[in-house]
Symmetry: C2
Subunit: 399 residues, 2 copies
Amino acid sequence: MLDVAIARARILEKISPCGLETVSLANGCGRVLASPLSARLSNPPVSVSSMDGYALKAEDAREGAVLRIIGEAPAGHPSSQTVERGTCLRLFTGSQIPAGADMVMIQENVRREGESATLLSAGRQGQFIRHAGQDFHTGDTLLPAGRLLGPRDIGLAAAGGHIWLPVSRRPRIGVLATGDEIVLPGDPASADSIVNSGAFMIIALLQSLGAEAILLPLAQDNADSLSAAIAQTHTLDMLVTIGGASVGTYDRVRSTLEAHGLTLDFWKIAMRPGKPLMFGQLGHTPVLGLPGNPVAALVCSLIFVAPALRKLLGQTVPEEMETEPALLGADVGENDQRLDFMRCRLTPQSNGHPPLVTPFSSQDSAQLNIFAQSQALLLRAPFAPAEKAGTPCRILRLP
Amino acid sequence: MLDVAIARARILEKISPCGLETVSLANGCGRVLASPLSARLSNPPVSVSSMDGYALKAEDAREGAVLRIIGEAPAGHPSSQTVERGTCLRLFTGSQIPAGADMVMIQENVRREGESATLLSAGRQGQFIRHAGQDFHTGDTLLPAGRLLGPRDIGLAAAGGHIWLPVSRRPRIGVLATGDEIVLPGDPASADSIVNSGAFMIIALLQSLGAEAILLPLAQDNADSLSAAIAQTHTLDMLVTIGGASVGTYDRVRSTLEAHGLTLDFWKIAMRPGKPLMFGQLGHTPVLGLPGNPVAALVCSLIFVAPALRKLLGQTVPEEMETEPALLGADVGENDQRLDFMRCRLTPQSNGHPPLVTPFSSQDSAQLNIFAQSQALLLRAPFAPAEKAGTPCRILRLP
């Protein structure tokens, strides 16, 4: 049985970014930037006022000074006039600072009578001016390659003059659920049929992380049925299979894939849930074989498939799993040779301490109800000793 | 100037969930469940084996016992045979437990020779059996109304026999950016034009939270241009305007909306960035007027628009803003009468303590570059005193 961290590294080593596409700024949120974005213009493009008020010379900015108002410049309507000593120009938030002026007095500090403005306070050079390029200058790098674009990044790209964004295309990932006992929700079923839940969970996860996920037709536990699905593999950036990867007589996934030319890397790892995890390469396509139990399948997806997808998308993937600190909310027993990912409740603590994490009493890998109620997975290292409530520990938050 | 918490409560008070639609299970992830979901079947539907092995009677489960193998039942192919004393049935993970058997011996603990199975260890009643309904029973409530459905919920709904899901429809929210100085990215511009970034940020945010966001045509600072956009308002579940809501002569948004029948609730709140925030009702449509500076617009969207959207979606919205504890990473000065949301960097601490939060030196509300680099907003209460690095504080994480 392979160590989880080694398995994760071996998978990531074999995965490369899958390619680019161009999308509109309006469709860029949630996509991964494929190359660094530089500013095509400065922001603000010219010096502008940050308040409603009057542009003037700092030499005139004494309390009680009376200035002549030479005109008005709404935002978007710059004035061609020059502010000389003894004069000022009415302007508004976003208005261009006129020639000659080097500060803005806010309107609350000005008494206006006709064309005359009396300053009610002193001021200093530069006040309430946003200087040209104060946010960024033409040519500045705004966003790095590999960035998962959020709303603020979209705003920055817009302000930087970008209408089209180079992003990673959505990796196309096939999800193949296998098993004679599996049926699609609502399809005709016998008394012992199990409704397929694993594939729907994994597809939802992959889509939420930016993949184009394809539900392949269910495959039965025989080579013909599996072969039909496997024949599509060359059109995929990754194939994820569910079930049939264990040691049972009817676990045909591995043997059928190998008959189609799979180069097997490993197929058993030291984790719970999820011992039967298979990884290999079929032509150019990485293949991850997940266990059939739906909880195990999704936990393995979080640990292995999600980082593989991030690498396909060109994101930086940390070498280590991204765990968070927590404190045990209950005593836990000693662990065996497998890294354990226990389904848990989290209780936030108001004193600023890490949350308390309490494992559910049942950790069966077919229990979707408890899995849906869980907020995190508690990591228990191989051969970890029994530990008392209050001991620091590490968790993975569930999406 | 209205207190932020009061403003937030007054907005939420006026918002009601916006309606339902039915979507396929395959499209349910990221949607909000509109009514509780009960199980239409039990999971597992019958008692099944959790391992590959042999079904037998617990009375026979002594080390060294030799049992006759009466047949085999792959998953999905239940056997009609009954396991009697002295016999066992070969089965696999997911196979139905045959009549007469009350436990499973895993294959690693059985030596098989032809039709004879020698047990290599003792066993106990019930072992390696997943009992019918162990996950849930028909009629059990699986998911509550208002739940934002994630991958695990989709799996649970599938396992519970649901093919179609009742969800809140996506609220249709119009976003109207205003200002003579504003242009769309790439559109013809003059030297002092500002590329519209606020609307793109807010649309990205709204979409990521489950809304159908509509970029209305840009409106200039005159009543005609605004009226054209406002005429569409009755088709929207909410209207969000950006800019033009301040006290300047050219800030026509409020007056134009009022001329069209807006019932104004408030239009100034005690926060920074974001003093000019307007809220009212135009016919059946709530209207939120955001400040024109893009950083202020997005911060106000997080504080006011996002919870309003969650309420439109039928989600439970906590009364208070959901802040997290942190520790000041630098000294901060005293605050004035406005609740301040300072753009900050977060530094996680490995000792399990809350993260350190360090405000950027510039807090100008037009600086998108610093905003994009920020990880959180530090909350500084009105009239908060100067505080030293290391003092506990509260933050809002940025999406």
